[in-house]
Symmetry: C2
Subunit: 224 residues, 2 copies
């Protein structure tokens, strides 16, 4: 079985992505980050759920993005709760986050001998982050194939898979349900309560709830 590295936060998108990689015949190596995010509750669920969605390995890497700051998710800023603003990149944007995450994925892929990396970015029902767009992904892939010994020595060509990039949130949910994903075990909130309940009001909760509504299925998650 060919190995693939999956960027996996335990959220709705990345869990679906993990299930998809598994269904496409890869041996998924799930990669999570403890990066000083507020929603560390995601990581606990991610650890527990990864093997049940097919992960054969799960690595949690600590990267202290709080030292860099610049985002409501890593610095001491308020997470907006008043709805998704159209056309603007919100304060939940974490500078260079996907670039940092994909870089680690590339390093781990090279070590385990994988050439396929999955990332659950989505350019449709998303928050306007520049590092979720197809042109960014293509540029990262090109760079990855110049960065590594395995590529330069001709052992293979790295490919960044973005199976969710053109899907609506409702499509993602439908696809995941077909694959048996239990969305009660995925977490999306940017600002959960201390007990771990989703707020229901941040951009991420709003996009998730809208997706379930459009898919015509109830969201099994408990909200505050």
């Amino acid at each position: 079985m060919k190995k693939a590295v999956i960027l996996y936060s335990g959220g709705l998108d990345s869990t679906t992505c993990l299930a998809l990689a598994h269904s496409e015949g890869f041996a998924p190596h799930a990669l999570s980050f403890a990066y000083g995010q507020r929603h560390a509750v995601e990581l606990d669920k991610a650890r527990e759920y990864a093997p049940r969605v097919g992960a054969v390995a799960h690595l949690v890497v600590e990267v202290d993005m709080r030292r860099i700051g610049g985002s409501a998710l890593t610095a001491d800023l308020d997470v907006p709760k008043d709805g998704v603003e159209e056309g603007a990149i919100p304060v939940t944007y974490v500078p260079a986050r996907n670039t940092v995450f994909l870089s680690f994925a590339l390093g781990w892929a090279e070590v385990v001998g994988a050439f396929d990396i999955y990332i659950g970015v989505n350019a449709l029902d998303y928050s306007g982050y520049p590092d979720c767009r197809p042109e960014y992904i293509a540029a990262f892939e090109q760079m990855a194939n110049l960065a590594t010994r395995a590529a330069v020595e001709g052992q293979g060509r790295y490919r960044i898979h973005t199976p969710l990039i053109d899907l609506s949130k409702a499509d993602i949910i439908r696809r995941g349900l077909e694959l048996g994903v239990d969305y009660a075990l995925t977490h999306s909130c940017y600002d959960p309560t201390p007990a771990g309940l989703a707020c229901g009001r941040c951009d991420s909760c709003r996009l998730r709830l809208k997706g379930f509504a459009e898919a015509g299925v109830p969201d099994p998650l408990a909200y505050a």
Copy 2:
């Protein structure tokens, strides 16, 4: 004064790079990593020396690259001591290291409002690492300008500066001496003694010693 982020390990190349950025009129923001490397002694010297070479800020980010492994510098492999092997990428290669480091530099640059990033890679007297080549650097720069809010919103264009890329080690040393770099305070060894003395036999020590010999000046560093 325009800000620049400098990847700075405290080694010979990156210290010269920091001095160069300062001499080119930038306010240098030095960025170091504690990444589970064996040569943590570098970091102590780096912390002490950064302001003396012109750094106005110095950030040390912990990234646990041991979790990924795959290199003599981060895993439990022996550092080679028998001389620089021609044409092969040695076991001291750290998968995706410069990509991970540049990604953090990009994130910090965006937060502080810098568009210039300096990295002391060298394609001449180097160890054959793929992520030290000009084509890799160009690909990273292109990706960076698609990855970030500051670039996408047109606030500026990121530039990766590699002022040492075409210089011999002797040229780098000559340039650094002109700028007043005290090389007694820089460290290059991959495998120093517990007391912090350079081994004199690893690739990095050999390249450094060869550089000082060719520059016709004594290396002020103490060797084991």
